[in-house]
Amino acid sequence: MLRLILRRVLVAIPTLILVSMIVFMLQKILPGDPVLTLAGEERDPAVLDYLRDKYHLDDPLPVQYGAWVLQVAQGDLGKSLRTDVPVSTLIGQKLPVTLQLSVMAMFFAVLVGIPMGIVAAVRKGTVVEMGANVAALSGMSIPNFWLGIILIMVVSVQWQLLPASGYVPPSQDFWLSIKTLLMPSLVLSTAIAAYLMRHTRSAMLEALGADYVRTARAKGVSPRQVVLRHALRNALMPIVTLVTLLFGELLAGAVLTEQVFTIPGFGKLIVDAVFNRDYAVVQGVVLCVAVGFIVMNLLADILYILVNPRLRHA
């Protein structure tokens, strides 16, 4: 196990370098001049030149990239061009928000998606399965931003039940924090729940058709036991991996949902930084997301081994 982790960490390093290079190049390809964007309405040529010089924007690309890598290697992600706040501080502010949103969204998705998938598989060919399929299809195809705005209109404006947007840290007011993130996490969870439902359903169908299930049934095991102990346990293996990977994706930030509900998480930070051409922030955050994604991948592998004893000694 330790060797697997070590190997994964080693493989991660070139991946991170590649990611950072691609992000760096992509930003430079983007039209627009960060200094011009920074200056906005105040365009004093002398100041613009000073800023270009200060942020080394006139240096050749490899030099700029090298300087950034050197800085990161020393543990310094730089400062936001726009507000002078260190990128590490920004990440420290946004990571808990995105984590909380992701955990809540995943919680709802698992709570709804997996049972729905099981039921759909067990009741194959009935109205129940059709209903579950329709629900899943709607979950996948309803755009998040639309659902978000409708929820705000109905739940917050009409019924005045939940706050319309924003974020409150749980340390400040736990229940208010949960209430503020309730709508956005539900909105986020719809697509994931649908995805989980479809995968659970097909994995369950496969498992229910397997020889060991037939054997179990022939032995007279109760249908409930067959589904939960024999079929589900085997079907869950790919689902666990899927949940971990989807969680990694959630960490990258739910751009549209965060925008609609004005949640100050990763997605909003990255989008605003791209629009402002705030290079240091984009690079720092993407690097952080990439690390998060790699960690989740590693976790998926480890979990897979844990839930599948056959692989433990391989």
Binding site: D33, L38, K54, T83
Partner: protein
Amino acid sequence: MKKLNRWGVLLGGALMAASATCAVAQELRIGLQEDPDALDPHRARTYVSRIVFTSLCDKLIDIDNKLQFVPQLAKSWSWSEDNKTLTFKLRTDAAFHDGTKFDAAAAKANLERAMTLPDSMRKTEVASIASVAAPDAETLVLTLKQPDATLLATLSDRAGMMLSPKSFDAQDSGSVARQPICSGPYKFVQRVQNDRIVLEKFDQYYNAKDYHFARLTFLPIPDTTVRLSNLRAGGLDMLERLSPNDVAQAKGDANLKFAPVDGLGFQEVFFNLNNGKRADTNPFKDVRVRKALELSIDREAINQVVGGGIFTPAGQAFPPASPYHSAKFPVPGRDVAKARALLKEAGLTTVKGELAFGNNTTISAIAEMMQAMAAEAGIQLTLRPTEYAALLAEAERGNFEVMIRGWSGRPDPDGNIYSFASCKGSLNDGRYCNAEVDKLLNQARVTPDETQRKALYEQVETILHQDMRNFFLYYQPWPFVLRKNVTGFTPSPDGMIRLKGVALAK
């Protein structure tokens, strides 16, 4: 028994008084359209950051709703005979948020920082100042290189904001932005980027009794629908820049008050006359084609259809609120026949051009209307919506034929015209250049007398109308919306939120 009753009344009165002071312990939540940039008045660049500064940082002088200068940190000011020395008498009872006293030496340190900080965005604004002196604690003397009619307006904005000199860090100019220490009615508490800026009442403020909130929270919510929804749901007490689409909704809600005001800025359509290769092939190179385009546009229709009735049509750089607004330049009406005649005179029947603009809902709708209206006059516009940062770069590089852009406006007329119309103007992306205009604009800069100055600007506008560097669409409104219980708020033409006397009713 009667005595007891009287005591009861007294007690009741005391309770009422107590609840009145409790009114101070309230919070005002303001929804902003964008997240402000660096909170350092010498380096800040955006309109939205000025809204925050208005409560955070006092200035030497302020402007009132009629654009007249009024005292703030300076009690009075006077010009020397030759208009080259400006002397301020300062308040003696003002303090910075760190407890240190505000005096002339502090003011001098601030102006010098604005003049010398390498990334100061105020440098050009205060370029006319030769030296600053503080002969005693309440006298501040500015000696100028040449007379500067724009200087008072400059000092009524960010260049006149005063920071505690103790907070200056020569090594790290970013430290001020992270923890700004000013002398305004509210002091800085906390900022979470993209989420909130929190200010708290500054009890030592010389006018503290006129400020009724214990806490101010500015919440950037870029989506206009969500911003309005928050206000309607009670998550905000007021918001700025309502989307014109939502005007009817805001007016129709009994819990809200709609408070729009004509601003000082404008939305203009300007042409690439001399910037790079595209200027040479630009179909709008001929002034008659430019005039024809203007004549094909119905500004009132844009106001009604896209603007919700708050996009006051514009025909000159200075808005009606400005004393420099001239009756000589009425807004031209639509005249398709005349537009066609002009094209014919230029030897053309149809013109094909490209209109570039920032990719947002309002401007896109305007561009589409312009396309339809221009087509009736024989001008076929293709539309090129461009993301804002890219648009700025395209404008500077000259990669456009005709472009729509906005300007948030300045109280002094110079701010609305100089950088757009002078040959080397920093925002003159069409590279319009007329030596006569330059001469007049520079002359207006050193002419303090309002009547003489107005005459100069009228001459400039006359030439600009002939040359058609651009034409104006409408004056940028500042549509505020408040919840019904917010009392005492008057919108200012400069779009700032001044909270003196504003309170929450029960």
